[in-house]
Amino acid sequence: MRGNCEAHELIAPGSLPAVLELLAAEPGVWTPIAGGTEIMVAHAAGRLIASKLVSLWGIRDLRFIEMADQGVAIGAGTTFIDLRRHAGLCESWPLLARAASWIGSIANQSRATLGGNLVNGSPAADSSPALLVYDAEIELISVRGSRRVPYRAFHTGYKRNVLEKDELVYALHMPRRFSEHRQYLRKVGTRRAMAISKVALAGTALVKHGTIHEIRLGAASLAAFPTRLYETEKAVLGKPVTRETIAAAREALLAEAAPIDDIRSTAEYRKRVAANLVEEFLLEAGREGPQL
């Protein structure tokens, strides 16, 4: 059944403080809507439960990319078009810029926001693997103040996260210390454009003289929410990139990944492909010479 637009209230207070006041006054009553690429789809299908919505679109305080020596801060209302067009981001955090360019179509990227992608919390979220391997922190804000949480601890279950009822995602912070790392991102879907991933993997690794000194692996669609692959990381940390290490990584991944069968793929396929992706990344990371 189609949604009825008259059944939903939508207001636009126009500023961040005004939105935070509203969320504080009536916690849990108002559902924030940014670019609407998720909520309006639910609305069209008659699946939108929220009856009161508050618009974040056009709030300047939420849409920024601030580069500094130590890192970058990205406002939650920044769109994926903003991310992929940003030269500094493309240069220093290429995985996030690349992920942004893969999300839906240009029309989706013009509206979909980084904060919206994370709060929506799809297990297949495109921006998540990159944020995980860049050790991003997520900054939450309310009238009570702001707090920072490692992004890897933001999701707590399927479509669940640590946000309190009066809080909004304010920004994402990524440190600038991955220039020496080998970096990897691959999304596997039904086709190149407009496809939700069957599985995606991001990786950053510091490899010196063929040995893995640091590694982070972030995956989408291998669990109920985007997650680091800690066991797989442990299996290769401190080891040289050899056939044995790769075999150990594959084994650890198959043991720790917990994908499901759904309309887009099967658990079996997802596991096997994810293991292949990890192998591809480790082989690339172990190669001498300049990286991609």
Binding site: H43, A107, R111
Partner: protein, 169 residues
């Protein structure tokens, strides 16, 4: 028009228009039902097919996914605003010349996506055209003639700019 709904004003194809509609009414429906601009079409209604594509503040959007209230104060360009003073846009000319339109349902969206692409990137490669139009589905042409139309428009625009520059010398 109900007095109980908020007044929402947007600039549509250069003209200020005010509507009183439910704030969650889709921009697509506002354009078609309230402003009688029926160029933008509804295909999927969920942002997958691009037939409702319009430009909002210089960016391409799916108007089926924009609640009317979020268009308050925005500049909207629809396919009706592409031609100016009765002169077709170079893309419209090239779609005609190259057979880029068949049944016509996807065409307004294709034109808007192509207009967005060419404005930001006047000389796109075939790969860039494919990416720029990836969110717009066509079930008639098999896409090749559409891509060729966009390439042709970009080439023609480049030529006429070069000619103008030559004559200006």
């Amino acid at each position: 028009m109900s007095e109980s709904w908020p007044a929402i004003t947007m600039q549509v194809n250069g003209e200020n228009r005010t509507v009183r509609v439910p704030p969650m009414k889709r921009l697509l429906d506002v354009l078609r039902e309230d402003l009688h601009l029926t160029g933008a079409k509804e295909g999927c209604g969920e942002g997958e097919c691009g037939s409702c594509s319009v430009r909002m503040d210089g960016e391409l959007v799916n108007s089926c996914l924009v609640p009317a209230l979020q268009a308050e104060g925005a500049e909207i360009q629809t396919v009706e605003g592409l031609a100016s003073n009765g002169v077709l846009h170079p893309l419209q000319e090239s779609f005609l010349a190259c057979g880029g339109a068949q049944c016509g349902i996807c065409t307004p969206g294709m034109l808007m996506a192509a207009a967005q692409l060419i404005e930001r990137n006047p000389h796109p490669s075939m790969e860039e055209i494919r990416e720029g139009l990836a969110g717009n589905l066509c079930r008639c042409t098999g896409f090749m003639r559409i891509f060729e139309s966009v390439l042709e428009a970009a080439t023609q625009t480049g030529k006429s700019q070069a000619e103008q520059a030559h004559h200006a010398r």
